[in-house]
Symmetry: C2
Amino acid sequence: MHNCHTHNACIETALEAAVVICDDGGLRFTKLRRAVLELVWTSHGPIKAYDILDQLDSSIASVTPPTVYRALDFLLENGLVHKLSSLNAYVGCSHPHRHHECYFLICTGCGEAMECCNSGLVDAVALTGRQNNFKPKSITLEITGECGDCQGRH
Amino acid sequence: MHNCHTHNACIETALEAAVVICDDGGLRFTKLRRAVLELVWTSHGPIKAYDILDQLDSSIASVTPPTVYRALDFLLENGLVHKLSSLNAYVGCSHPHRHHECYFLICTGCGEAMECCNSGLVDAVALTGRQNNFKPKSITLEITGECGDCQGRH
DNA sequence: TCTAAAATGTTATAATATAACATAATGAGA
DNA sequence: TCTCATTATGTTATATTATAACATTTTAGA
Ligand SMILES: [Zn+2]
Ligand SMILES: [Zn+2]
Ligand SMILES: [Zn+2]
Ligand SMILES: [Zn+2]
């Protein structure tokens, strides 16, 4: 379950952060990109590209796959969303100002994806790299299971 | 790069291990499943479902997607192959007798996926679970980067 | 204003995976 | 050996996810 009791505030915060990041980076946070990021955040859990497409207001952009995928590409490149490969779904980055290595606890009960940063994990990955003479560039770490709230409900 | 200088032996070993595992588990290691596992192993790196389909001998089975996906499902369920979600590709498990938590170092240079088991990483994941009151069931950990052999070649 | 670059529109198609139902093969018990 | 239920495979169609290719519009700076 999401633990932000005021999810609207949560969405607003994310959008404001995106504005700052784009301003700082000289990036264009267009109406479309904003709309897509807002849809991603409005969904409480990971959302699929075609669900974004379904929900996209046709007055904002052409409702076709390239529209959504391009916006997602922009958001991914700039660290505003993450892709969960194991689900083919997208989720807003909850700390876009400093998203080094992020990983996800994905609950099969409620569908929420909790984003974590943990130096222990990061260190373990780095060590593995060194041990294998391997130079890591990007990491996909998705842990599927049951969150605390859902473990009770059987 | 794969470091098994006799990859044929490597394939044979994997097939023999599969026979043992299926025998022990009362599972049917059919001609089709064997053929698909062999194709997975014959590929030096991760292989895609439709590439398996292309290479599947039509005298063994009907060359249609369900054929391949069903065989892959069987092999996945029984720990004989892994799916690399970040690539939508499949790779043979290199230690199917005891594949607890596996992760992969995927080289963008040569395409190889090296399977690792590292208690440090496993422990870090477990700790993260406890800290977040989250009960992990399955883990997707794919590290993309450059292997030692490929770091030289620029 | 002019213009090159970036963003979006548009149409088509590629790539990945599953649904649904039919048939065949297998193997355990009668 | 003969059911017959289960498992595996065949077959056809379709769902889902993502990109290619090219046209047009918008933007921001010179
Ligand atoms: Zn993040
Ligand atoms: Zn949950
Ligand atoms: Zn394995
Ligand atoms: Zn390599």
